[in-house]
Protein backbone atom coordinates (compact mmCIF):
# COMPACT_ATOMS: atom_id res chain seq x y z
CA UNK A 1 0.00 0.00 0.00
CA UNK A 2 2.73 2.42 1.00
CA UNK A 3 4.72 1.62 -2.12
CA UNK A 4 1.72 2.33 -4.26
CA UNK A 5 1.04 5.59 -2.45
CA UNK A 6 4.65 6.62 -2.92
CA UNK A 7 4.43 5.81 -6.61
CA UNK A 8 1.26 7.86 -6.96
CA UNK A 9 2.93 10.66 -5.03
CA UNK A 10 5.86 10.61 -7.43
CA UNK A 11 3.56 10.55 -10.43
CA UNK A 12 1.67 13.51 -8.99
CA UNK A 13 4.89 15.37 -8.25
CA UNK A 14 5.93 14.94 -11.87
CA UNK A 15 3.14 17.28 -12.82
CA UNK A 16 -0.02 15.30 -12.16
CA UNK A 17 -2.01 13.27 -14.64
CA UNK A 18 -4.17 15.45 -16.80
CA UNK A 19 -7.62 13.97 -17.38
CA UNK A 20 -8.92 17.13 -18.98
CA UNK A 21 -7.42 20.54 -19.71
CA UNK A 22 -6.93 22.27 -16.39
CA UNK A 23 -8.13 19.27 -14.39
CA UNK A 24 -5.65 16.91 -12.85
CA UNK A 25 -6.35 13.46 -11.52
CA UNK A 26 -3.89 14.12 -8.70
CA UNK A 27 -3.09 17.49 -7.25
CA UNK A 28 0.63 18.08 -7.80
CA UNK A 29 1.13 19.26 -4.23
CA UNK A 30 -1.44 17.71 -1.93
CA UNK A 31 -2.20 20.04 0.94
CA UNK A 32 -1.96 18.74 4.49
CA UNK A 33 -5.18 17.45 6.00
CA UNK A 34 -6.34 15.45 9.02
CA UNK A 35 -3.54 13.27 10.38
CA UNK A 36 -3.99 9.79 11.83
CA UNK A 37 -1.20 10.54 14.29
CA UNK A 38 -3.53 12.66 16.40
CA UNK A 39 -6.79 11.69 18.01
CA UNK A 40 -8.83 14.71 19.00
CA UNK A 41 -10.75 14.35 22.20
CA UNK A 42 -12.28 16.26 25.03
CA UNK A 43 -12.18 16.03 28.78
CA UNK A 44 -15.16 17.22 30.83
CA UNK A 45 -14.55 17.98 34.49
CA UNK A 46 -18.08 17.76 35.89
CA UNK A 47 -16.96 19.16 39.26
CA UNK A 48 -16.29 22.49 37.50
CA UNK A 49 -19.46 22.40 35.40
CA UNK A 50 -22.13 24.62 36.97
CA UNK A 51 -25.82 23.83 37.07
CA UNK A 52 -27.77 26.27 34.92
CA UNK A 53 -24.71 27.47 32.98
CA UNK A 54 -25.25 27.05 29.25
CA UNK A 55 -22.25 28.99 27.90
CA UNK A 56 -21.06 25.95 25.91
CA UNK A 57 -24.48 25.45 24.33
CA UNK A 58 -24.81 29.11 23.31
CA UNK A 59 -21.28 29.16 21.89
CA UNK A 60 -22.00 26.02 19.85
CA UNK A 61 -25.24 27.49 18.50
CA UNK A 62 -23.48 30.71 17.53
CA UNK A 63 -20.45 29.05 15.93
CA UNK A 64 -22.47 26.54 13.92
CA UNK A 65 -25.50 28.67 13.12
CA UNK A 66 -28.02 26.55 15.06
CA UNK A 67 -31.37 28.07 16.01
CA UNK A 68 -30.96 27.35 19.73
CA UNK A 69 -34.39 25.71 19.92
CA UNK A 70 -34.74 22.66 22.18
CA UNK A 71 -37.84 21.06 20.65
CA UNK A 72 -37.84 17.56 19.14
CA UNK A 73 -37.39 19.03 15.64
CA UNK A 74 -34.54 21.38 16.57
CA UNK A 75 -30.88 20.54 16.09
CA UNK A 76 -28.95 20.31 19.33
CA UNK A 77 -25.29 19.48 18.96
CA UNK A 78 -24.55 19.88 22.66
CA UNK A 79 -26.99 19.70 25.57
CA UNK A 80 -26.68 20.37 29.27
CA UNK A 81 -27.91 17.50 31.43
CA UNK A 82 -28.71 17.65 35.13
CA UNK A 83 -28.36 14.34 36.94
CA UNK A 84 -29.36 13.26 40.44
CA UNK A 85 -28.07 10.22 42.22
CA UNK A 86 -31.20 8.62 43.68
CA UNK A 87 -29.65 7.05 46.78
CA UNK A 88 -27.52 9.97 47.93
CA UNK A 89 -29.31 12.94 46.39
CA UNK A 90 -26.04 14.22 44.88
CA UNK A 91 -26.69 16.42 41.85
CA UNK A 92 -24.46 16.72 38.85
CA UNK A 93 -24.45 18.84 35.71
CA UNK A 94 -22.67 17.93 32.49
CA UNK A 95 -22.62 18.67 28.77
CA UNK A 96 -23.59 15.82 26.45
CA UNK A 97 -22.69 15.66 22.80
CA UNK A 98 -21.27 13.32 20.14
CA UNK A 99 -18.68 11.24 21.98
CA UNK A 100 -16.52 10.80 18.86
CA UNK A 101 -16.16 7.07 19.39
CA UNK A 102 -13.20 5.15 18.01
CA UNK A 103 -15.72 2.43 17.10
CA UNK A 104 -18.72 4.56 16.15
CA UNK A 105 -22.03 2.66 15.81
CA UNK A 106 -23.37 5.44 13.56
CA UNK A 107 -20.63 4.66 11.04
CA UNK A 108 -21.33 0.92 11.26
CA UNK A 109 -24.99 1.29 10.35
CA UNK A 110 -24.77 4.05 7.72
CA UNK A 111 -25.90 2.54 4.39
CA UNK A 112 -24.25 5.19 2.20
CA UNK A 113 -20.95 5.89 3.90
CA UNK A 114 -22.11 9.38 4.87
CA UNK A 115 -21.29 8.78 8.54
CA UNK A 116 -17.55 8.46 8.78
CA UNK A 117 -14.63 8.90 11.11
CA UNK A 118 -11.86 11.22 10.01
CA UNK A 119 -8.23 10.12 10.34
CA UNK A 120 -7.90 12.34 13.43
CA UNK A 121 -10.85 10.64 15.16
CA UNK A 122 -13.56 13.24 14.52
CA UNK A 123 -16.87 11.57 13.61
CA UNK A 124 -18.73 13.49 10.91
CA UNK A 125 -21.62 13.29 8.46
CA UNK A 126 -20.84 13.92 4.80
CA UNK A 127 -24.03 15.70 3.83
CA UNK A 128 -23.30 15.06 0.15
CA UNK A 129 -23.87 11.37 0.83
CA UNK A 130 -26.49 11.50 3.62
CA UNK A 131 -29.92 10.34 2.46
CA UNK A 132 -31.62 11.21 5.75
CA UNK A 133 -32.54 7.64 6.71
CA UNK A 134 -31.70 8.30 10.37
CA UNK A 135 -30.34 4.81 11.10
CA UNK A 136 -27.39 6.51 12.79
CA UNK A 137 -29.70 8.38 15.12
CA UNK A 138 -31.17 5.08 16.26
CA UNK A 139 -27.75 3.47 16.58
CA UNK A 140 -26.20 6.24 18.69
CA UNK A 141 -26.38 5.34 22.40
CA UNK A 142 -25.82 9.00 23.36
CA UNK A 143 -28.76 10.50 21.43
CA UNK A 144 -26.19 12.87 19.97
CA UNK A 145 -27.56 13.31 16.48
CA UNK A 146 -30.27 15.59 15.11
CA UNK A 147 -32.18 15.59 11.86
CA UNK A 148 -32.87 18.81 9.97
CA UNK A 149 -36.59 18.80 9.21
CA UNK A 150 -37.10 22.23 7.66
CA UNK A 151 -35.28 24.15 4.91
CA UNK A 152 -32.53 26.36 6.32
CA UNK A 153 -31.34 29.78 5.21
CA UNK A 154 -28.27 31.94 5.84
CA UNK A 155 -25.97 29.13 6.93
CA UNK A 156 -22.44 29.92 8.02
CA UNK A 157 -19.98 29.71 5.06
CA UNK A 158 -17.76 27.17 6.84
CA UNK A 159 -20.63 25.19 8.42
CA UNK A 160 -22.87 24.05 5.56
CA UNK A 161 -26.03 22.34 6.81
CA UNK A 162 -29.44 21.73 5.32
CA UNK A 163 -32.77 19.99 5.23
CA UNK A 164 -32.91 16.21 4.99
CA UNK A 165 -29.56 15.49 6.59
CA UNK A 166 -28.48 14.18 9.97
CA UNK A 167 -25.94 16.24 11.88
CA UNK A 168 -24.14 16.33 15.20
CA UNK A 169 -21.21 17.86 17.06
CA UNK A 170 -18.21 18.13 14.73
CA UNK A 171 -15.79 19.16 17.50
CA UNK A 172 -15.92 22.41 15.49
CA UNK A 173 -13.94 20.75 12.72
CA UNK A 174 -13.68 24.06 10.83
CA UNK A 175 -11.88 25.57 13.83
CA UNK A 176 -9.76 22.48 14.48
CA UNK A 177 -8.53 22.61 10.87
CA UNK A 178 -7.53 26.25 11.50
CA UNK A 179 -5.57 25.15 14.57
CA UNK A 180 -8.13 26.34 17.12
CA UNK A 181 -10.20 24.42 19.66
CA UNK A 182 -13.98 23.93 19.72
CA UNK A 183 -16.21 26.94 20.48
CA UNK A 184 -17.69 25.30 23.62
CA UNK A 185 -14.25 24.83 25.18
CA UNK A 186 -13.36 28.45 24.53
CA UNK A 187 -16.68 29.65 25.98
CA UNK A 188 -16.23 27.57 29.12
CA UNK A 189 -12.79 29.08 29.60
CA UNK A 190 -14.10 32.62 29.04
CA UNK A 191 -16.74 31.86 31.67
CA UNK A 192 -13.88 31.11 34.05
CA UNK A 193 -14.79 27.48 34.68
CA UNK A 194 -12.48 25.51 32.42
CA UNK A 195 -14.65 22.44 32.80
CA UNK A 196 -13.91 21.54 29.18
CA UNK A 197 -10.49 20.69 27.84
CA UNK A 198 -9.69 19.85 24.22
CA UNK A 199 -6.60 18.11 22.94
CA UNK A 200 -4.81 15.17 21.41
CA UNK A 201 -5.49 11.91 23.26
CA UNK A 202 -2.57 10.25 21.46
CA UNK A 203 -0.04 12.78 22.76
CA UNK A 204 1.02 11.89 26.32
CA UNK A 205 2.13 15.50 26.87
CA UNK A 206 -1.13 17.16 25.87
CA UNK A 207 -3.09 18.92 28.62
CA UNK A 208 -5.92 16.40 28.23
CA UNK A 209 -3.66 13.37 28.60
CA UNK A 210 -1.86 14.88 31.59
CA UNK A 211 -5.03 15.70 33.47
CA UNK A 212 -6.48 12.26 32.73
CA UNK A 213 -3.29 10.63 33.99
CA UNK A 214 -3.45 12.63 37.22
CA UNK A 215 -7.12 12.29 38.03
CA UNK A 216 -8.47 9.54 35.82
CA UNK A 217 -11.46 9.81 33.51
CA UNK A 218 -14.51 7.76 32.68
CA UNK A 219 -16.29 7.04 29.46
CA UNK A 220 -20.07 7.13 29.44
CA UNK A 221 -21.47 3.67 28.69
CA UNK A 222 -17.94 2.26 28.75
CA UNK A 223 -19.58 -1.19 28.74
CA UNK A 224 -20.33 -0.71 25.04
CA UNK A 225 -16.59 -0.57 24.36
CA UNK A 226 -16.88 2.24 21.85
CA UNK A 227 -13.72 3.96 23.11
CA UNK A 228 -15.21 7.43 23.24
CA UNK A 229 -13.11 10.50 22.53
CA UNK A 230 -15.07 12.58 25.06
CA UNK A 231 -14.18 11.58 28.63
CA UNK A 232 -15.68 12.68 31.94
CA UNK A 233 -14.29 13.30 35.40
CA UNK A 234 -16.34 13.34 38.59
CA UNK A 235 -19.16 11.07 37.45
Amino acid sequence: MNGRRAFLGTAAALGGVAIAPGLLLFEPARAKGASSKVRWGMLVDTTRCAEGCTACVSACNKENGLSGGTGPDDSQWIRKIELKEKTTGRTLSLPMMCQHCAEPPCVDVCPTGASFKRADGIVLVDRHLCIGCRYCMMACPYKARSFVHEPLHDQKPDVPRGQGCVESCTLCVQRVDRGEGPACVEACKTEGREALLFGDLNDPNSAVSKRMRERGAKQIRADLQLDTGVRYQGI
Binding site: L23, A34, A119, H128, D154, P157, Q174
Partner: protein, 109 residues
Protein backbone atom coordinates in the same frame (compact mmCIF):
# COMPACT_ATOMS: atom_id res chain seq x y z
CA UNK B 1 -46.95 10.85 -45.44
CA UNK B 2 -43.26 10.24 -44.88
CA UNK B 3 -42.57 13.87 -45.76
CA UNK B 4 -45.18 15.01 -43.25
CA UNK B 5 -43.61 12.90 -40.52
CA UNK B 6 -40.19 14.29 -41.36
CA UNK B 7 -41.55 17.83 -41.22
CA UNK B 8 -43.16 17.15 -37.85
CA UNK B 9 -39.87 15.75 -36.56
CA UNK B 10 -37.95 18.79 -37.74
CA UNK B 11 -40.52 21.04 -36.08
CA UNK B 12 -40.20 19.16 -32.77
CA UNK B 13 -36.42 19.30 -32.86
CA UNK B 14 -36.45 22.97 -33.70
CA UNK B 15 -38.82 23.78 -30.83
CA UNK B 16 -36.41 23.56 -27.88
CA UNK B 17 -33.93 25.81 -29.66
CA UNK B 18 -36.67 28.32 -30.22
CA UNK B 19 -37.81 28.03 -26.59
CA UNK B 20 -34.26 28.87 -25.46
CA UNK B 21 -34.78 32.35 -26.82
CA UNK B 22 -37.34 32.93 -24.07
CA UNK B 23 -34.65 32.76 -21.36
CA UNK B 24 -32.32 35.72 -21.06
CA UNK B 25 -28.72 35.06 -22.03
CA UNK B 26 -26.51 35.15 -18.92
CA UNK B 27 -24.84 38.50 -18.34
CA UNK B 28 -22.24 37.96 -15.67
CA UNK B 29 -20.87 40.82 -13.63
CA UNK B 30 -17.06 41.08 -13.50
CA UNK B 31 -15.57 39.21 -10.56
CA UNK B 32 -13.76 40.73 -7.61
CA UNK B 33 -10.34 39.51 -6.63
CA UNK B 34 -7.48 38.53 -8.92
CA UNK B 35 -7.32 35.89 -11.61
CA UNK B 36 -9.61 32.87 -11.55
CA UNK B 37 -8.02 29.48 -10.86
CA UNK B 38 -8.44 28.50 -14.54
CA UNK B 39 -9.39 30.21 -17.83
CA UNK B 40 -13.13 30.86 -18.32
CA UNK B 41 -13.60 28.17 -20.98
CA UNK B 42 -12.11 25.57 -18.63
CA UNK B 43 -14.11 26.78 -15.65
CA UNK B 44 -17.31 26.79 -17.67
CA UNK B 45 -16.89 23.14 -18.55
CA UNK B 46 -15.00 21.64 -15.63
CA UNK B 47 -16.28 23.41 -12.50
CA UNK B 48 -18.75 20.65 -11.52
CA UNK B 49 -16.01 17.99 -11.63
CA UNK B 50 -13.55 20.22 -9.81
CA UNK B 51 -16.02 20.94 -7.01
CA UNK B 52 -17.23 17.35 -6.77
CA UNK B 53 -13.69 16.07 -6.41
CA UNK B 54 -12.69 18.74 -3.92
CA UNK B 55 -15.71 18.30 -1.66
CA UNK B 56 -14.68 14.73 -0.88
CA UNK B 57 -11.10 15.73 -0.20
CA UNK B 58 -12.17 18.58 2.06
CA UNK B 59 -14.88 16.79 4.04
CA UNK B 60 -13.17 13.43 4.45
CA UNK B 61 -9.51 14.39 4.59
CA UNK B 62 -9.80 17.84 6.10
CA UNK B 63 -7.86 19.63 3.36
CA UNK B 64 -9.01 23.20 3.79
CA UNK B 65 -6.62 25.37 1.81
CA UNK B 66 -7.35 23.86 -1.59
CA UNK B 67 -7.35 25.93 -4.75
CA UNK B 68 -10.85 24.77 -5.66
CA UNK B 69 -13.55 25.90 -3.25
CA UNK B 70 -17.22 26.78 -3.54
CA UNK B 71 -16.68 29.47 -0.93
CA UNK B 72 -13.96 30.88 -3.19
CA UNK B 73 -16.36 31.05 -6.16
CA UNK B 74 -18.90 32.98 -4.11
CA UNK B 75 -16.29 35.28 -2.57
CA UNK B 76 -15.09 36.51 -5.98
CA UNK B 77 -18.20 36.22 -8.11
CA UNK B 78 -20.82 37.30 -5.62
CA UNK B 79 -24.15 35.78 -4.60
CA UNK B 80 -25.05 32.42 -6.17
CA UNK B 81 -28.48 33.81 -6.96
CA UNK B 82 -26.86 36.19 -9.43
CA UNK B 83 -23.74 34.35 -10.61
CA UNK B 84 -24.45 30.60 -10.57
CA UNK B 85 -28.19 30.82 -11.14
CA UNK B 86 -27.99 32.78 -14.40
CA UNK B 87 -26.21 30.10 -16.44
CA UNK B 88 -27.92 27.25 -14.66
CA UNK B 89 -31.31 28.72 -15.47
CA UNK B 90 -30.23 29.28 -19.07
CA UNK B 91 -28.94 25.70 -19.37
CA UNK B 92 -31.89 24.24 -17.44
CA UNK B 93 -29.61 22.55 -14.92
CA UNK B 94 -30.88 22.30 -11.37
CA UNK B 95 -28.29 22.54 -8.60
CA UNK B 96 -28.89 22.09 -4.89
CA UNK B 97 -25.50 23.23 -3.56
CA UNK B 98 -27.04 26.22 -1.84
CA UNK B 99 -29.65 24.35 0.13
CA UNK B 100 -26.76 23.73 2.53
CA UNK B 101 -23.90 26.01 1.47
CA UNK B 102 -23.92 29.74 2.10
CA UNK B 103 -25.02 31.41 -1.11
CA UNK B 104 -23.62 34.85 -0.26
CA UNK B 105 -20.08 36.01 0.45
CA UNK B 106 -19.24 36.19 4.14
CA UNK B 107 -19.66 39.74 5.44
CA UNK B 108 -16.27 40.07 7.10
CA UNK B 109 -13.15 38.06 6.53
Amino acid sequence: MRLLAALALVATLALPAGAGAGVDKPVLAPAKGGKCIAPPEVMRREHPDMLRHQRTVTVHEGVRDAKVSLEGCIDCHGPAREFCAQCHRYAGVHIDCFQCHASRPAEKR
